[in-house]
C-alpha cells in the first residue's frame, strides 16, 4: 500500500464514553472481522477487560477501507485504555499515530480525562477529530456538548460527526473525516530503519513480540536489527500485521504498524519506547520515544508457599513484557520471607496484576498494603527514596520527610461543590482554583498527597457525587510532610509487612482501626495473642486475640464421620493459606487490613 493511503490513528476518550464500541463498529464497517466472529469489545481480549468493562492493554488493528472517493485506504487503529491509572499507555499510542479521534459522550460532556487525553494529543502534534457519541440516548445534548468541547478544549467541532456507535449511525462519516483530515505518514522506504517499539508481549513459541510503528526505512524477515538503547543485535524471524489476529507479511515500510519477532528471550531487550534500526546500516539517531513511566504505588508480593518463589519470579518476568509500566525487584521480609517489591501506576493497576498472577499463573499470593514512595533527607545530608515502610530510617536520623503530591482536577455538577471540597479537606487537600465550564458544571483543582488519592479516593468521590464527578491527576513533585511509621506487633514481634506510613494527625485513629481489624482477622491460637500498634517504641493501641480454649465436636458417631473428615480437611486447607510469623499464623487478608480500614469509615 502506498504511503499516501495509510492513516494511523487512535481513539481517546474518558472512560465509558464508548471508545471500544466505536472501535467494534470500525471493524465491522471495514470488514476486518466477519460478523459471525464479532463479539462486543473485540479488542479487549483479556477476560479481565471484558469482566470489568475496561480496556487495559492497547491493542492495534489494521483495516482496509474503500472510501467514498473510490480508493482503498489502510487504517491502523491503536486502541487505548481509558482509566486514569493507564494514561501512560495513551501517550504511547499517540507517539505511533498522526491523528486521534476524541470521543465525547453526548449526555455527559467533557470529563476530566477527556481534557487530559486531548491535551496529550495536542502536545503530541496530532490531528484531533472530536466525535460526539451516544446521540441515541434520550438525555443526549449534542449541542451543549459541542459548545463545551469548543469552549474548554478550543477544538473545532464538525457538526456532522455526531454518532451512535451502539446503533452504527454516523460511523462511516467518521472514517471519511479521518481520511480527509489526518495526514498520511511521511518517511522514506530506503532510509535507514527507524521503528518505534510501542508495546510488547511474550509468546511462549516466538519469544518477545515487539509492537512497532515504522517511521523510516523498511523491516523484513531475515534482516539483522539492532536495539538502539542496548546495541544488541537480533535476526528478524517474522514481521506481521494485526488483523487483529497476528498475520505474517513480507515487510513493513514507513508509516506501517505491525509486529516483529526476533527470538528475543530477555525482557530488557525489547524495551517499550526504544528504537529498532538496521544492524548493517544503522540510523544516526533514535526516535524521540517517550518519557519512562515511573510507578507510583508499591507493594510487596510474596508467595504463600515459599517453594513458589521461582514460579512467581518467572510469572512477573512474563507479565512485565506485556506491561512496561510494571516494575519489580526482589525483597526480603522478616515476616514473609522472599518476595518482590512491585511498583504500579495506581491501585487498579495493582489489582489487575495481582489478579492476572493468580488467574493466569495459578499463584497464591500475599500482597502487602500499598504505599507511595517517600523522599527522606537524613541529618547527615543523605537523601534516600523509600518505597517500603520496612526500610524507613530511625526517627533520630531523619531531618526532612517528603511525600509525592498531585494536582487533581475534578469535574462535577455544581451541586456537589461542597461535598467534593469536604472530601478534599479530609484528604489533606490544598485548594488551588475553581472554574465553571458551564453554569452547571465546574472544574475544581486541588493539590493533595498522592497517598491520599490512591487509597480509595476515586470510589469515595464517585459515591459522594452520585457518580457524576470525574477525576484526573498528575504528579507535581515532593513536599515536606509530617509522617510517621506505624509498626504493628503481633505476639511481641514486629511484623514488617504490616508497617504503614501515616500522617501524624491520623496516627492514633489508624492505629486503633488497624489493631481492631487485625483482631478480627487473626484466628485464635492456643495462647493469648497481643496485637499492638506502635510509633517507635511507644505503643499507642492494643487489642488481644484471646486464646482458643475449646474446639471439639463432642457428639460424633457413625453418621458424622464424613462430615467430620470434611470439616477437618477444610480447616487444614485454611491453615495452608496462612503465614506463620513467629508462633502465630496470620491469614493472607490480614496483610491488606491496613488498606481496608479506610473503606469502612
Amino acid at each position: 500500500m502506498e504511503q499516501e493511503r495509510i492513516r494511523n490513528f487512535c481513539i481517546i476518550a474518558h472512560i465509558d464514553h464508548g471508545k471500544s464500541t466505536l472501535a467494534d463498529r470500525f471493524l465491522e464497517v471495514t470488514g476486518a472481522v466477519e460478523p459471525r466472529q464479532m463479539v462486543d469489545q473485540l479488542l479487549d481480549q483479556m477476560d479481565l477487560e471484558r469482566e470489568r468493562g475496561i480496556t487495559i492493554k492497547l491493542q492495534p488493528v489494521r483495516m482496509l477501507y474503500r472510501a467514498r472517493d473510490g480508493r482503498e485506504y489502510l487504517l491502523n487503529l491503536i486502541d487505548t485504555p481509558g482509566h486514569v491509572d493507564f494514561s501512560y499507555e495513551v501517550s504511547r499510542s499517540l507517539a505511533a499515530c498522526e491523528g486521534a479521534i476524541l470521543v465525547v459522550d453526548a449526555s455527559q460532556g467533557v470529563e476530566a480525562q477527556t481534557i487530559a487525553n486531548a491535551y496529550l494529543a495536542i502536545d503530541a502534534g496530532l490531528e484531533i477529530i472530536p466525535v460526539i457519541n451516544k446521540i441515541d440516548l434520550p438525555v443526549a445534548e449534542p449541542d451543549r456538548v459541542a459548545r463545551e468541547i469548543e469552549d474548554v478544549l478550543g477544538l473545532e467541532v464538525d457538526n456532522s460527526l455526531r454518532v451512535s456507535a451502539k446503533e452504527g449511525t454516523g460511523v462511516v462519516d467518521v472514517l471519511e473525516a479521518l481520511i480527509a483530515r489526518v495526514p498520511p505518514p511521511r518517511g522514506d522506504a530506503s532510509a535507514p530503519l527507524q521503528a518505534l517499539i510501542f508495546d510488547s508481549h511474550f509468546d511462549s513459541y516466538k519469544g518477545a513480540i515487539s509492537y512497532i510503528r515504522v517511521f523510516q526505512g523498511t523491516v523484513r524477515r531475515g534482516m539483522r536489527i539492532q536495539m538502539m538503547s542496548t546495541g544488541r543485535v537480533f535476526e528478524v524471524g517474522e514481521v506481521g500485521v494485526f488483523t487483529p489476529a497476528m498475520k505474517p507479511v513480507e515487510e513493513l515500510g514507513p508509516g506501517e504498524v505491525g509486529y516483529l519477532a526476533a527470538g528475543i528471550k530477555n525482557v530488557e531487550d525489547t524495551r517499550v519506547g526504544d528504537t529498532i534500526t538496521s544492524a548493517d546500516s544503522p540510523a544516526v539517531e533514535p526516535l524521540p520515544g517517550y518519557r519512562k513511566v515511573l510507578p507510583v504505588v508499591f507493594c510487596g508480593m510474596y508467595p504463600v508457599e515459599p517453594g513458589e518463589y521461582d514460579n512467581l519470579r518467572s510469572a512477573l518476568g512474563k507479565l512485565k513484557l506485556n506491561d512496561a509500566a510494571f516494575q519489580y525487584e526482589p525483597e526480603t521480609s522478616a515476616a514473609l520471607g522472599f518476595g518482590f517489591r512491585c511498583g504500579f501506576l495506581g491501585l487498579l493497576h495493582m489489582e489487575i496484576v495481582q489478579e492476572r498472577l493468580e488467574r493466569e499463573y495459578g499463584l497464591d499470593l500475599i500482597t502487602t498494603a500499598p504505599n507511595v514512595i517517600y523522599r527522606i533527607t537524613k541529618r547527615n545530608g543523605d537523601v534516600v527514596e523509600v518505597d517500603n515502610p520496612a526500610n524507613w530510617p530511625d526517627a533520630g536520623e531523619v531531618a526532612v520527610i517528603e511525600e509525592p503530591y498531585v494536582r487533581a482536577t475534578v469535574i462535577t455538577p455544581a451541586d456537589y461543590i461542597g461535598t467534593v471540597m469536604e472530601l478534599m479537606r479530609e484528604r489533606r487537600g490544598e485548594y488551588r482554583e475553581m472554574s465553571y465550564l458551564s453554569p452547571q458544571r465546574v472544574q475544581i483543582i486541588y493539590d493533595l498527597p498522592l497517598s491520599e488519592i490512591i487509597f480509595d479516593f476515586f470510589s469515595r468521590l464517585k459515591s459522594c457525587t452520585r457518580g457524576y464527578a470525574s477525576l484526573d491527576y498528575e504528579i507535581t513533585g515532593f513536599r515536606p510532610s509530617d509522617l510517621l511509621k506505624l509498626d504493628c506487633m503481633v505476639h511481641g514481634e514486629v511484623v514488617d509487612a504490616l508497617s504503614v506510613i501515616v500522617h501524624k494527625d491520623q496516627a492514633m485513629t489508624r492505629a486503633r482501626q488497624l489493631v481492631e481489624k487485625l483482631r478480627g482477622l487473626i484466628p485464635r491460637q492456643l495462647f493469648d495473642v497481643p496485637i499492638q500498634a506502635a510509633v517507635g517504641s511507644r505503643v499507642i493501641a492494643r487489642e488481644t486475640v484471646k486464646a482458643l480454649r475449646k474446639n471439639v465436636l463432642e457428639k460424633c458417631y457413625g453418621g458424622d464421620v464424613t462430615r467430620k473428615r470434611k470439616l477437618l480437611e477444610k480447616q487444614k486447607e485454611g491453615k495452608r493459606r496462612m503465614k506463620q510469623v513467629g508462633r502465630v499464623e496470620i491469614p493472607q487478608e490480614a496483610f491488606l487490613a491496613v488498606l481496608r480500614v479506610d473503606d469502612e469509615k
Binding site: K555, R565, L568
Partner: protein, 382 residues
C-alpha cells in the same frame, strides 16, 4: 468384639427440640401420622431384608435404635423390627441391644415388653435436671418424667442404662451444671454421655441468639464445665473412655465403639449412614422417598462413597483418637501395613510438644487439653 453393628433410625418425634438438626418428623396425633409410621416401619423391615441378602447372614454384635424418638412408636412395633433382624441375621451370643428412650414417651409396660424381647440397654435423653433449661431446649418433658423413665427402666429389669446430658446451655451457670450432674450421678446410671450444646445453623435456638434474645454460654464457662465434669464423674467411679462418654467398669457402649474403631456397620432407615464393604453411604432423608425406594426392594441410598485407603486412614485416626486410651499402634500397623509415625511422626512430635498428645504402651492419645482442642489437633492428621 465380634459381629456386625446394626443401626436402625426411627425418625419421629412429638415435636422438634429447639437445638436439634437430626432428621425427624414431628408426629401429629391422628390417622395421617399413624399411616406414615406404619408405611415407614414396613419400609424399614424391607430394608433389613434387602440389606441382609446383600451382607449375607452375618452375626450381629450390637443393635441400636436411634432417632428421633424410638420410644414414640408402639413398643410392639420395635419388637417386630427386632424379630425381623433375628430372622435375617444371627444374633451374637452377648449381643448389645440399645433403645434411645425419651422421658415422657415411655411406659413401664412398654419397657417391660422391650426388655423381654431382648433389649438390654436403654439410653435416656435426660439432657438437664433444671426445668428452665429443659424448657429453653424445647424438650417435651420436665424433671419428673426423667425420674419416672429411669425408675421404670430399672423396674423393667434394665441394668445397663445411659443418661444423656447437655452443658453449655444459654444462661446455665457452673453451679447449675454441677447440680444437674450430681442429680444424674445420684441415680447411678451405668453410663453417661455428656455433650456441650452445639449451636447449629437454622435451629430456633441459634436464631434467638442471632436476634440477641439469648446469650450463648461463654467459652471460659464451658471449659470450666468440661473440667468439673471429668473430676466429678471420676470421683463417682466413672471412667471417661471417649471425649463425651463415661462408663462404669465394663459398661462401655459396644455399639458406639464400632464407630470409634472405624469398623463396618449397617445403618438402616431414613437418613441413616452406614459403612460397609468399603463404602460409606447415606440413605434418603426424605421419608416418602425413602419409603418408596425401600419398598421397591432397592437399597434406599442417596449417596455412596468408595473409601480410598487415605480416607480410611484419616477416619481411623480421627475417630480412634476420640477414645481415651487412644489409637493402638499395633492395630494401626496391622490395618495399614505401616506405622503411624511413618506418616505423621512429625505432626505427632509437634502435638506432644504442645502438650496435646501423649503416648504409652503402644497407644497414642489426646491429653485432656488435647480433647478440648480435638478439632485443632485432628486437623494435623487429615
Amino acid at each position: 468384639m465380634a459381629g456386625l453393628a446394626l443401626y436402625l433410625h426411627i425418625p419421629f418425634c412429638v415435636r422438634k427440640c429447639r437445638y436439634c438438626v437430626f432428621v425427624s418428623r414431628p408426629l401429629a396425633g391422628g390417622g395421617a401420622g399413624k399411616t406414615l409410621v406404619q408405611d415407614y416401619l414396613r419400609a424399614l423391615r424391607r430394608e433389613i431384608k434387602t440389606a441382609a441378602s446383600l451382607a449375607g447372614r452375618q452375626s450381629l454384635g450390637s443393635i441400636y435404635f436411634g432417632g428421633g424418638t424410638p420410644t414414640l412408636i408402639d413398643p410392639s412395633d420395635l419388637v417386630s423390627l427386632l424379630e425381623e433382624t433375628r430372622e435375617r441375621f444371627d444374633w451374637g451370643e452377648d449381643i448389645e441391644i440399645t433403645v434411645e428412650a425419651n422421658p415422657g414417651t415411655v411406659s413401664p409396660a412398654g419397657l417391660r415388653l422391650l426388655r423381654d424381647a431382648g433389649v438390654n440397654r436403654l439410653s435416656i435423653g435426660a439432657q438437664s435436671f433444671n426445668p428452665e433449661e429443659l424448657e429453653l431446649l424445647g424438650r417435651i418433658h420436665g424433671v419428673a418424667e426423667i425420674y419416672l423413665a429411669f425408675y421404670a427402666a430399672r423396674d423393667a429389669g434394665f441394668d445397663n442404662v445411659n443418661l444423656d446430658l447437655i452443658y453449655g446451655i444459654p444462661g446455665q451457670t457452673l453451679s447449675g451444671w454441677r447440680a444437674s450432674l450430681e442429680k444424674a450421678v445420684e441415680l447411678h446410671p451405668e453410663h453417661l454421655s455428656v455433650y456441650g450444646l452445639s449451636l447449629e445453623e437454622g435451629t430456633p435456638l441459634v436464631e434467638e441468639i442471632a436476634k440477641g434474645c439469648l446469650q450463648p454460654c461463654p467459652e471460659e464457662t464451658q471449659v470450666a464445665m468440661w473440667e468439673i465434669t471429668g473430676r466429678l464423674l471420676k470421683g463417682a467411679g466413672y471412667e471417661r473412655y471417649e471425649i463425651a462418654n463415661f462408663a462404669s467398669p465394663g459398661r462401655q457402649c459396644r455399639h458406639n465403639l464400632t464407630y470409634w474403631l472405624n469398623r463396618p456397620y449397617l445403618g438402616l432407615g431414613a437418613a441413616a449412614h452406614g459403612y460397609f464393604n468399603g463404602i460409606r453411604y447415606a440413605n434418603h432423608s426424605d421419608l416418602e422417598t425413602y419409603i418408596e425406594s425401600s419398598l421397591q426392594g432397592k437399597l434406599p441410598r442417596a449417596q455412596e462413597e468408595h473409601q480410598t485407603p487415605e480416607q480410611e486412614r484419616t477416619d481411623t485416626i480421627i475417630m480412634g483418637l476420640r477414645l481415651t486410651r487412644g489409637l493402638s499402634r499395633s492395630a494401626f500397623r496391622n490395618r495399614f501395613g505401616y506405622s503411624f509415625e511413618d506418616v505423621f511422626g512429625e505432626q505427632l512430635a509437634v502435638m506432644e510438644q504442645e502438650g496435646l498428645m501423649e503416648e504409652n504402651e503402644g497407644f497414642i492419645y489426646l491429653t485432656e487439653r488435647g480433647c478440648l482442642l480435638a478439632n485443632y489437633v485432628l486437623a494435623h492428621f487429615v
